[in-house]
């Protein structure tokens, strides 16, 4: 009985979320526009084609990782291992492709498979080994994968990749980086997956209430395994873009991206408790961070302030969410 009541409550909650979500979307987009306007006013270089394509190419890697991170957070979890998974899968790609001359396309497939496989391990630690929280399983994976990435070549970077590996990360179509198209396709697919397929809706449901989902017949474990596999997969995909961008794989790659991806998803309004969030807002979160970093660089601001500023934005974004929920609750009573 109690479960049914909870499930019903969860259903009602979901119905009420619609207008709330839209309100937040407008807020996030307005913040991005406002931030861009401020940067444009302060730096005449900001609104140039050169610079905007820079921002796009800089945001691409983070955007791809954030896509998987969004799923993990949507289920009420987190994936702390994305940066390390990126490093390990690209280092392995480098070893087979550059050091052993394996076909570049095959190497890229291997990279994606390693990423997905490590992600699946993250999921299995949660569902089969019943580790209490993904914070622990993915933190363990973060360290293991980073360690392994360093061990493979004794910390040496691998460079000069064949053209196919560099294709997406290093080429432009007119002024637009190719990685931008990859991001667009990935986000469109993810949007359709989340809104138009049963599995996509299950991810929301599992995030909203695991127990209720289980009782209504959703295979919760399967959903969680899938989510973490996808998160590992997108990390590896981002890795291929990064390798293309810099023409090198190195074991310390992706260190900044763990926290940047979490920040982007949170700024994009996804609830840390799971079940609430939209993939469209996640990309806005990614752009807010990218514009902030780029703009402060253009303004010649010490990078330590950038870290500070992004931290402040995260807390502000979550606080606004908390305040809004309080208002809603008062309204409901």
């Amino acid at each position: 009985m109690a479960h049914e009541r909870e499930a019903a409550a969860a259903g009602q909650e979901a119905k009420k979320q619609k207008p709330r979500k839209n309100m937040y979307s407008v807020g996030v987009i307005l913040s991005l526009i406002l931030l861009s306007l401020v940067m444009a006013v302060l730096s005449p270089r900001f609104l140039t084609v050169d610079n905007l394509t820079n921002v796009a190419s800089q945001a691409a890697v983070s955007a791809i990782i954030s896509c998987g991170m969004f799923l993990a957070i949507l289920t009420g979890g987190i994936d702390l291992s994305v940066g390390s998974v990126l490093a390990l899968s690209t280092m392995l790609m480098g070893v087979v492709c550059v050091n052993h001359g394996v076909d570049p396309y095959l190497s890229m497939l291997l990279c994606l498979a390693v990423g997905g496989g490590l992600g699946l391990l993250n999921g299995l630690m949660l569902t089969k080994m019943s580790l209490p929280h993904p914070f622990i399983s993915t933190m363990g994976m973060k360290m293991m994968a980073r360690g392994a990435a360093l061990v493979i070549t004794a910390a040496a970077p691998i460079s000069i990749f064949p053209e196919p590996v560099q294709f997406i990360g290093n080429n432009y179509l007119g002024p637009l980086p190719l990685s931008l198209f990859l991001v667009a396709i990935l986000y469109a697919c993810m949007y359709l997956f989340l809104t138009r397929t049963a599995t996509g809706r299950y991810i929301y449901a599992v995030g909203g209430n695991k127990e209720a989902s289980r009782l209504s017949g959703i295979k919760v474990h399967r959903v969680l395994n899938l989510v973490y596999t996808l998160s590992g997969f997108t990390a590896a995909l981002a890795g291929i873009v990064l390798v293309g961008r810099v023409n090198a794989a190195y074991p310390l790659a992706g260190q900044d991206y763990d926290s940047d991806a979490i920040a982007a998803v949170i700024i994009g309004g996804a609830s840390f408790f799971g079940g609430v969030g939209s993939i469209g807002n996640t990309i806005i979160g990614v752009l807010i961070i990218a514009v902030l970093r780029n703009g402060l660089n253009l303004l010649n601001v010490d990078s330590n302030y950038q870290t500070f500023a992004i931290g402040a934005v995260i807390i502000l974004a979550v606080y606004i969410d908390v305040l809004r929920q309080k208002v809603m609750q008062v309204g409901r009573r």
């Binding site: 040496a156 810099v246 190195y250 260190q255 780029n294 990078s303």
Partner: protein, 314 residues
């Protein structure tokens, strides 16, 4: 209607700002300098050298660096960002040289000359004006010469190297070894301690078991020589010991009479020379592909003045 007016006002403001910025007096030269970080003492001194030279020459200096030396992607983004600001010259110290090739190719496409400081690019990459950095072989020779002066023929010496494959450390030890051998010293042991203080300590303990009569030590950096010093002190030995970097701990140890000396890199000069060469590059002058920023032997005589100078730089 009101919304439209608001938009119009904002647009006008943006436009006005852009015009103002464009109309501001154009400086002689705009240099974008991207270092490994701006948060450590070593790099602050490089930056101070560049700032002073830029102020003197009326150069506009955009100075960037990530919070830590291993924030590689952030550093590459910073190079992109100075490229898009249309700087005249880029001064760059790559945290991960192999990963910096593509972004330097972007600079080349925009015809922005690049000057490297402290760390060079991988062999085969030649699209830079000059590389300004320590000649590590010469730095090692300076250390070896100072050590040899304290010893006599036939004395046993311990050489402590950095990680195998770390070219700066390997070159320093090579330089010291050449000079010491030429002066008639015996290399009792030459081993890597991976630039780590604790490893330098353990290594020296072990070496002393086999060679209790070590009469002098040269290490490729100060961390290792400070570890070695501790092992020597615990074994009740006092021999001349020399490191490289002249970091704060080493200078204090020299002043306390423990270490004999340390070879200081010319990091202030790296920054200064980079700005001077940027001006020359813009003027189309011919510039050497490799510039030694110098190395100075620090001993009890001059350690205090270097320490004071460092403290004067915020």
């Amino acid at each position: 209607m009101q919304k439209k007016r608001l938009v119009a006002i904002v647009m006008a403001l943006v436009f006005a700002f852009v015009l103002c910025a464009g109309a501001a007096a154009a400086p002689k030269l705009k240099v974008g300098m991207v270092l490994k970080t701006l948060s450590s003492q070593y790099w602050k001194i490089v930056a101070a050298g560049a700032k002073a030279a830029a102020d003197k020459a009326g150069v506009e200096l955009i100075l960037l660096g990530p919070p830590t030396e291993d924030a590689i992607e952030q550093q590459i983004n910073m190079v992109q960002d100075v490229i898009s600001q249309k700087v005249d010259v880029i001064v760059f110290s790559p945290s991960q040289p192999a990963a910096s090739i593509n972004v330097l190719n972007q600079a080349k496409k925009k015809k922005i000359p690049v000057i490297l400081v402290d760390t060079g690019m991988p062999a085969g990459f030649n699209d830079y004006v000059t590389f300004i950095g320590t000649d590590n072989l010469a730095a090692g020779k300076a250390g070896g010469k100072a050590l040899a002066a304290q010893l006599k023929k036939g004395d046993k010496v311990l050489l402590i190297d950095g990680a195998p494959g770390n070219p700066s450390c390997n070159d320093r030890v090579k330089g010291a070894e050449e000079v010491l051998k030429a002066a008639g010293m015996v290399i009792a042991s030459k081993q890597p301690a991976f630039s780590d203080r604790e490893k330098g300590y353990t290594l020296t303990q072990n070496v002393l078991q086999a060679n209790p009569d070590i009469a002098g030590v040269f290490a490729a950096n100060d961390e290792m020589v400070l570890g070695s010093l501790r092992a020597m002190q615990q074994a009740g030995k006092k021999v001349p010991m020399i490191g490289v970097d002249a970091n704060e701990d080493a200078l204090k140890s020299i002043l306390a009479g423990d270490l004999y000396g340390s070879v200081a890199q010319g990091n202030y000069d790296m920054g200064r020379i980079a700005i001077e060469k940027a001006l020359e590059a813009k003027a189309g002058k011919k510039i050497d592909k490799r510039i030694d920023s110098g190395a100075t032997m620090m001993t009890k005589d001059n350690a205090q003045s270097l320490l004071d100078f460092r403290m004067s730089i915020k």
